[in-house]
Amino acid sequence: MKFRNYLEDITGIGIYPLISLLLFTIFFALVTLYVIKGNKKHFEELSNLPINDKNSRS
């Protein structure tokens, strides 16, 4: 299955990496915001999940 010679050029292809960059940047920004503003208690509860099980002795 040779793909060469299908297209001389993909005109306007630059839009796709741009969309991808925007998606990533916005996603990243939102996740960072969530993490900064987020509920401290909830994060503490989650980080203790591996410790709060039956096997908790050193």
Binding site: M1, K2, F3, R4, N5, Y6, L7, E8, D9, I10, I13, Y16, P17, S20, L23, F24, F27, F28, V31, T32, Y34, V35, I36, G38, N39, H42, F43, E44, E45, L46, S47, N48, L49, P50, I51, D53, K54, N55, S56, S58
Partner: protein
């Protein structure tokens, strides 16, 4: 709230733990033998099954898929059940997964020794085994997701996201890179060719590192480090950010294996930029790991498992700084094809993967057998031996890499290359010896661990029934007011899997689509023609013997390379190469323009005994090629397969192929006779000579390549 009682499945964890230890020893031993073969070529034994070219993939597959693979499953099966407060979804699936995986490993070891290989690094296993891998991987995912859906702990701890991302991405990578057309039960050709194959292969190869060697082990780190240190992870928020950043960015980094090669510039640049960005999320993981121990460093002094984990996370940090640095084009220009890359790999492999596995084993086995570790002293000795082993491995290889690179690039004041390639090989020997001492220390440490753990197991009694109780999940979840979307996805494993898949797919799509569809990325060269049937057979012998493990076929556009090897390699030269054979390492010289450099008799003598033509050579001998008959019956099937892949052989060429083959073989036999060598034209060596003499010849007549 009614408490449900249930039991954790420890048997499956025990099985995976045993497999991890056994295959670890096997894989390390294979590596050690391969390392010694480089300065004691006699250890190749002059038989096909034990040559470096066949042993190297046995080593890589054993340590990656058998050692680390079983280590992943050991850790996942233990932690998943406890984080979710649920027994594995299906004991039957667990068993199928375990035995299926071990079957794959055994088939891999046998088939690779027999030369059944695709010729693509870390994806050498042929198509029947690829299918088996897919089936077993699905069983693993089914079991894992079934458990997640049955969980009693609603929120998915960060380790589990890493397991989910691992599962879905490895599936994607394996399937896409393994698309191949079978020619016989044990032989297939990659659907992709040349530049495209290189891009797909290293998208896969780098992400095998990312999603098999890194993400599952980060998941294990996030569970076992807090568990053993009895402290929560330093910053849960950081783990959220670095998880998403890591899985998005990692995928794009593949082209950093292809800098200054014939892949398009834009692809190389993407690989560079994303590899550098990757420092941030990788170090997020390292920081989270190390800072979890803040205020608890005294525990490290007394707990040998923690010692291993600390070195593991540190090695992870080192390797994930070095990797991005190596991805800069100027650094890659020095490091590519040298032993520096080998050093880099083993910092990660021995330090991160090895030590994390050891740390977990030292904690887990006493727990599973309800006893204390047999000998703390031995475990500490293992720690120091292993650490010393890593240093003695890496430092000689760094030195060797720099020395090779400088010597390859060295010119006399008159403008001539200063060193023959053989001079650089000879200079490497002391470093190969030192490295194998490092590897021996590391292996001895692992043997010590095995003894220690066996004694521990014998002294203990297996905890087959481990009970726990927890309330079942409420049917509906009452969300907190103003709850953020990430909290939502932490509760929804299927959505997390789908979103992860979308995130990891983006990089691949953007890097592949233009490379596959846009003509200008691989300019056609009119003089480049398909391989003749005899050359195709010879190429398959080249692949079978694993020649690409020591020889590259990609000349970079540097004066030092064009002076030594000839015109630098162009994208259009590789359009019929199913699979590509650019190689990653120059233990021996580049062969891209080998065609026509030496007479046929030189190659005949060289394959029989390399030192006869190249005194001081460390290359193995290949005497069976002179005696074994070429499998001429496969020729028609191979031509047909190539035609199906789009290689423009003439209409009905299969009917002519065998006679063309015999004609070309006759010519070569005549040439050999003139130089005093008698051979029958149907021997494998004739086919191999035909292939080697074709390499790089097509554009030698061209003054300029056709550029469109």
């Amino acid at each position: 709230m009614e408490l449900q009682k249930f039991q954790y499945d420890n048997k499956i964890v025990k099985l995976f733990a045993y497999a991890t230890i056994v295959w670890g020893l096997v894989g390390m031993l294979a590596g050690l033998i391969a390392a010694i073969q480089l300065y004691v070529p006699a250890l190749n034994f002059s038989i096909p099954y034990t040559t470096f070219g066949r042993l190297r993939p046995v080593h890589t597959n054993a340590v990656i898929f058998a050692f680390v693979g079983n280590g992943i499953f050991m850790g996942v099966y233990y932690s998943l059940q406890r984080l979710l407060k649920a027994r594995m979804f299906s004991d039957l699936l667990s068993k199928i997964h375990f035995w299926g995986w071990q079957l794959i490993i055994v088939l891999a070891a046998i088939s690779l020794a027999l030369g059944k290989t695709t010729g693509k690094e870390y994806a050498e296993l042929e198509w029947p085994i690829d299918i088996l891998i897919t089936l077993v991987w699905v069983v693993f995912g089914w079991n894992m997701f079934g458990t997640i859906l049955r969980r009693r702990e609603r929120h998915l701890y960060v380790a589990i996201w890493f397991y989910v991302a691992t599962f879905v991405t490895v599936a994607m990578l394996h399937i896409v890179n393994s698309i191949e057309i079978p020619v016989s039960f044990w032989k297939s050709y990659s659907w992709y060719a040349g530049v495209q194959d290189a891009l797909v292969q290293w998208w896969y190869g780098h992400n095998a590192v990312a999603f098999f060697l890194t993400t599952p082990y980060l998941g294990l780190m996030y569970y076992f480090l807090p568990k053993i240190a009895q402290r929560p992870v330093y910053s849960y928020r950081l783990s959220i950010i670095h998880f998403w950043a890591l899985i998005f960015l990692y995928i794009w980094a593949g082209p950093h294996h292809l800098l200054y090669t014939a892949v398009p510039d834009w692809a190389q640049s993407l690989g560079v930029v994303f590899s550098v960005m990757l420092i941030a999320p990788s170090w997020g993981g390292m920081i989270n790991g190390l800072l979890t121990l803040r205020g608890a460093w005294d525990k490290v002094r007394d707990n040998v498992g923690l010692k291993f984990l600390v070195v593991a996370v540190t090695a992870y940090g080192m390797a994930t700084f070095e990797g991005p640095m190596l991805s800069l084009k100027s650094v890659s220009a020095i490091a590519h094809y040298t032993d520096w890359i080998v050093a880099h790999v083993h910092i990660g492999a021995l330090g991160w993967n090895g030590f994390l596995t050891f740390g977990i084993l030292y904690w887990l086995i006493p727990r599973l057998f309800q006893t204390k570790l047999y000998s703390q002293k031995m475990a500490n000795m293992h720690f120091w031996l292993g650490t010393l082993g890593i240093l003695l491995y890496a430092v000689p290889m760094y030195w060797a890499g720099f020395m090779q690179s400088s010597m390859w690039k060295d010119f006399t004041p008159e403008g001539q290359l200063k060193w023959q390639f053989m001079d650089t090989v000879t200079k490497m020997i002391p470093f190969y010896i030192a490295r194998s001492i490092g590897g021996t220390l590391y292996l001895v440490g692992a043997v010590l661990m095995t003894y220690n753990l066996v004694k521990t197991i014998r002294a203990g009694s297996f905890l087959e029934v481990e009970e726990d109780e927890a309330p079942a999940l409420k049917g509906t979840y009452v969300s907190h007011a103003g709850e953020h979307w990430h909290r939502w996805i932490e509760r929804k494993p299927v959505q997390m899997m789908i979103v992860s898949l979308v995130v990891v797919a983006i990089g691949g799509i953007i890097e592949f689509v233009p490379a596959f569809l846009v003509k200008s990325n691989i300019p056609t060269i009119a003089s480049v023609k398909p391989y003749t049937p005899l050359e195709l057979q010879g190429r398959d012998i080249y692949v079978r013997e694993g020649c690409y493990t020591c020889h590259s076929q990609m000349i970079r556009p540097f004066r030092s390379e064009t002076s030594r090897y000839g015109e630098y390699s162009k994208a259009g030269e590789f359009v019929y190469d199913h699979p590509f054979q650019w190689g990653s390492k120059r233990t021996g010289p580049d062969l891209a323009r080998e065609g026509g450099k030496y007479p046929d008799s030189w190659h005949y003598n060289h394959m029989a005994d390399p030192t006869s033509m190249s005194p001081g050579s460390i290359m193995p001998q290949y005497p069976w090629l002179l005696e074994d008959q070429l499998d001429a019956n496969s020729t028609i099937a191979k031509i047909k397969a190539m035609k199906r892949l789009g290689v423009p052989y003439p209409e009905s060429y299969e009917t002519q192929a065998v006679s063309d083959m015999e004609k070309q073989a006759g010519t070569i036999t005549e040439n050999l006779k003139k130089d005093g060598i008698e051979t029958l034209p149907d021997r494998e060596i004739v086919a191999l000579i035909a292939y080697l003499q074709r390499l790089g010849k097509d554009i030698k007549g061209e003054k300029t390549a056709d550029k469109q």
